[in-house]
């Protein structure tokens, strides 16, 4: 008690001297970790980053434009490219759906902290199996049956490509990051091998297919794919959030020791989850081929195995938020194609710079979601922070 009164009496005298004390190491601001953030603030931060990134991009595009376009045109063309015609809209949703497929293939593994960088390879193996079934068996069996065979082999191939690193991880503790990454190159090599083995006509390309093509429900054969992957995404959300398997995945991902402590068979969970992961990736491969009977190439997955990593992180591993992140990325990619032609860019580099810039803005703004910056007051006056802290301490007492 005695001490308190003493404090009060000395405080006014000390304040001026205290303000004079400034270390040369003192920065004018503090970086403070946020314990909580209100959802609206979070959304606002993302929105500002997104708008900021787009504004910056529009300026860059205007500067580099060959035909004197202005920044406003950038926005117009971006939307035009994504929504301009029904076909463009359908393709936008198709791309979103395929990206969703690639992302939900990765998410269970990521939740388990199994860094599956082999999405591309797993999708590509799915493509290869779907394609070769149709290529060799097309016409020899009813199309419905052929589609089933294509589907089954694609899924199996995806599983195989995911299972190999999973087994090594579970049994020998091998690092999955490098392993899955390398499996991508093996998959690409396998595809190239079969191309040279099968295609003897000198074109060096797999021809498009006549058999084993999925029925198209709409003019652009996109609806079925969109439907399947949208539904799967919702199912994946339920699986991860409400099923016992999903719970086990979270526990293994958060703490291997806790998993062992409560008797979860970690090896089993790793293998089971990677089978699921590979199966979905294989399915994406199947849809890539069977949707229109497209030809196969070693770049068929269109790098979705890596883009999926970004969409998963952006969505914080929440499948429902992935609708947003996948849509956002599909929108940018489609829109920039249009901007590119309209602004007269002869190659894709400016478009890539712009896409990268917008990604960067959106991803780096997470810093402001996790931290806030507090400025110190001018010398001579007590800052708000000090007052707040003093109040807090009083409140605690």
């Amino acid at each position: 008690m005695k001490k308190k009164t003493a404090d009060r009496s000395t405080a006014p005298e000390q304040e001026p001297t205290q303000s004079g004390v400034k270390s040369r190491f003192e920065l004018p601001f503090h970086i403070v970790k946020r314990p909580h953030i209100a959802p609206w603030k979070k959304i606002l931060i993302y929105a500002i980053a997104l708008v900021g990134g787009m504004l910056l991009s529009s300026l860059i595009c205007a500067v580099f434009s060959k035909n004197g376009k202005n920044p406003l045109d950038f926005f117009g063309q971006l939307f035009n490219g994504s929504f301009g015609t029904p076909r463009k809209s359908w393709l936008l949703f198709l791309e979103t759906a395929l990206l969703l497929g690639a992302s939900i293939a990765l998410i269970p593994a990521f939740k388990m902290k199994f860094w599956n960088l082999g999405g591309n390879g797993q999708i590509l193996m799915g493509c290869l199996c779907a394609y070769s079934c149709s290529y060799w068996l097309g016409g020899k069996m009813p199309d419905g049956l052929l589609l089933l065979v294509m589907f089954a082999t694609s899924v199996a191939a995806g599983i195989l490509w995911a299972l190999i690193p999973a087994l090594f991880k579970a049994v020998f503790g091998t690092n999955e990051t490098l392993f899955t990454l390398m499996m991508n190159y093996v998959a690409a090599g396998v595809v190239l091998y079969f191309r040279s083995a099968w295609i003897k006509n000198g074109s060096g390309q797999f021809p498009t297919l006549d058999h084993g093509i999925l029925p198209s429900l709409d003019k652009y054969s996109a609806a079925l794919t969109v439907f399947v992957f949208f539904v799967l995404t919702v199912l994946m959300f339920v699986y991860l959030r409400y099923s016992k398997h999903g719970y086990e995945i979270s526990v293994v991902g958060e703490s291997m020791n806790t998993a062992k402590y409560v008797g979860i068979d970690v090896k089993k969970v790793v293998i089971r989850t990677m089978i699921l992961s590979g199966a979905i990736a294989g399915m994406v491969g199947f849809f890539l081929i069977a949707r229109t009977g497209a030809g196969l190439s070693d770049t068929s997955p269109n790098n979705m195995g890596f883009t999926g990593i970004m969409t998963s992180w952006l969505a914080g591993f929440n499948p429902l938020l992935m609708f947003l992140s996948c849509f956002f990325i599909a929108f940018l990619t489609r829109g920039m194609t249009q901007v590119r032609t309209d602004f007269g860019f002869t190659n894709s580099s400016v478009a890539n710079i712009v896409i990268g810039l917008i990604y960067f803005c959106v991803i780096s703004c997470t810093f402001f979601v996790n931290y806030k910056i507090v400025f110190r007051g001018k010398s001579g006056e007590k800052t708000d922070l000090d007052r707040k802290l003093a109040n807090q301490v009083r409140g605690v007492k």
Partner: protein
């Protein structure tokens, strides 16, 4: 005693985000005194001293050294003010010798000459009464030797003000008294020593003055000779509390868990468990004492099914003689198998023959408790996984040392953490969060867990509340054996006593409690028997009611004492 003021804190404030670690702390440190900085965990005592040692820089206020304002922005500057800190976790290089560690990073213009360094170390040892072999490598040293090296390291740099952060946490009673002698010698030599601690008895023993911090604020500084443990506790906690643990008599003890000859050698060929045998009895708390890292963790994990063993057995004894079989422990299939082996009888003594009976009929008999066991059930838990142990119906609860890394999942909320043990129940592939939610609610209310709501990730809770959640869950399983490793480490006094009371209550309910502790006073006040473990070997099982602290301390170091003597001979 008119002593010179050496250091003065003036209105020091330090914040980390929304956490106020120190608020407006003003205090003084005199020349030639031992000052204890006392306070509960998280009250800001280490933060305050870190500002003196140059680890942190204060957000507000100033530090005066010998009356002049000081800006201590790095440990190096701290040394230029002759301030040195010995941290709780030692900062030594394992493959270097003591002398090499001492001289590491010293820039005084002179040539690197280990001979001189050793000579100076020898002088210091003589002056203050240390014993250290300067050519010994750090990894060969005991904790107490490492601490000595840290102290020499600081002295070598010319420190007059030594800050020791929880120096006794890892020492045995004998080592503590040796350390205290050294500290007294240094004080008499005119050095100022600051000890950060939360152990009251040590404060009373060693210090001249005590500064008490509570929730980041300086409550007051008192002379040790003019205060008492009770008064200090009140200053620390802010209210009166009783420091007695109610130890009840052991009622009807029955042998519950037999541990026979456990051996385990780790991948570095160190014998971690060396022929460990003991019996844990129901209705009794068995304490396990020993220097940190003597095999306590491995022992408990072995019993819990997490630690592979080279040899030995862990026998669980379930008193079931003349008691009915239930579907809690056994499945229908197991009941039929056991009946075929002739393990059951009816109340009138006739043997049970289930052949030819329908499943429905058997279910009815079990549910009506008509089928009784002939003998107690005996199960070997060795090489069983935690899941298999549970499937055997053995209710074994384990509060591990690493709460957030093993007992709980930090990023999950309280409800999901409640499910960890029970989520498998039922055939649905989906989770049932209803029951865990009720349990979480009960525990939060019953144990007064401070949390915004049930959906807060447990890592956001304070240490005491995390432990309440964990212990609450483990006790809710109605265990027959409850193992707790360092359950009060890092907890404030109130939470600690709450945990002691919970353990006592389990004991009264007939649970066999195994308690691994580090504070001998607590072990001797709470437990019924104490098993002392030393380098993976049992060096004694003593009656906690009659044993003295020194006896336990001797058992903790039994073999090490011999080894030290050998070392001294070699050096001499």
């Amino acid at each position: 005693m008119a002593k010179e003021v050496l250091i003065e804190f003036q209105n020091i404030t330090k914040t980390f985000g929304a956490v106020v670690a120190n608020n407006n702390v003003s205090m003084q440190i005199f020349q030639g005194e031992i000052l204890s900085v006392l306070g509960e965990n998280g009250c800001g005592k280490t933060t305050l001293m870190n500002m003196l040692a140059g680890i942190y820089y204060p957000d507000g206020g100033k530090i005066l050294i010998r009356g002049k304002e000081a800006h201590i922005h790095s440990p190096k500057t701290a040394f230029s003010y002759r301030i040195g800190m010995i941290h709780q976790h030692f900062k030594l290089i394992d493959v270097f010798t003591a002398a090499e560690n001492v001289v590491l990073g010293v820039k005084n213009g002179s040539k690197y000459n280990l001979k001189d360094v050793k000579k100076r170390i020898g002088e210091m040892c003589d002056r203050y009464g240390f014993h250290i072999n300067p050519d010994k490598k750090i990894y060969e040293m005991s904790v107490s030797e490492k601490q000595t090296v840290e102290i020499i390291k600081v002295l070598y740099r010319g420190a007059d003000i030594l800050i020791l952060d929880e120096p006794t946490a890892v020492l045995t009673p004998q080592e503590i008294s040796k350390l205290f002698d050294v500290l007294r010698a240094m004080r008499n030599d005119g050095k100022s020593i600051i000890i950060i601690t939360h152990k009251l008895n040590e404060v009373m023993e060693i210090s001249d003055r005590v500064a008490v911090l509570r929730k980041g604020e300086h409550i007051g500084t008192v002379k040790t000779s003019e205060t008492s443990e009770q008064a200090l506790t009140e200053m620390m906690v802010g209210k009166k509390i009783t420091l007695n643990i109610d130890r009840t008599k052991v009622e009807n003890p029955a042998d519950r868990l037999f541990v026979n000859g456990l051996n385990y050698t780790n991948s570095e060929h160190v014998k971690v468990l060396d022929n460990i045998s003991f019996v844990a009895r129901s209705g009794e708390i068995l304490g396990i004492a020993g220097i940190a890292g003597s095999g306590q963790r491995e022992l408990l994990e072995a019993i819990a099914g997490l630690q592979p063993l080279d040899s030995g057995e862990i026998i669980f004894h379930r008193p079931k003689k003349d008691l009915p079989v239930s579907f809690y422990h056994k499945t229908l299939k197991q009941v039929i198998e056991l009946a075929a082996e002739g393990k059951f009888h009816y109340a009138d003594g006739t043997p049970v023959d289930l052949s030819g009976k329908s499943k429905k009929e058997i279910r009815r008999l079990v549910n009506e408790e008509k089928i009784l066991f002939n003998e107690d059930e005996i199960m070997n838990l060795r090489d069983k996984t935690p899941l298999q142990i549970r499937e055997l119906g053995v209710r074994l609860s384990f509060v591990p040392e690493d709460r957030l890394g093993m007992g709980l999942v930090g990023n999950m909320d309280i409800i999901d953490n409640m499910m960890l043990r029970s989520y498998r129940k039922g055939n649905s592939i989906l989770l049932n969060r209803k029951k865990p939610e009720n349990l979480a609610d009960q525990i939060v209310k019953g144990l007064e867990v401070v949390t915004p709501d049930l959906h807060t990730p447990v890592r956001r809770l304070s240490g005491g509340n995390v432990q309440k959640v964990l212990v609450g869950r483990e006790i809710s399983m109605a265990p027959k054996v409850l193992m707790a490793a360092y359950p009060v480490r890092g907890l404030d006094i109130n939470s600690s006593y709450l945990i002691y009371n919970l353990l006592n209550k389990q004991k009264e309910e007939g649970v066999a409690v195994i308690f691994v502790g580090e504070d001998l006073d607590v072990l001797m006040g709470l437990c019924d028997r104490i098993l002392v473990i030393n380098s993976g070997r049992v060096t004694g099982i003593v009656d906690a009611r009659t044993v003295t602290k020194e006896e336990v301390g001797l058992l903790m170091t039994k073999t090490d004492a011999g080894k030290e003597k050998r070392d001294e001979k070699e050096n001499g």
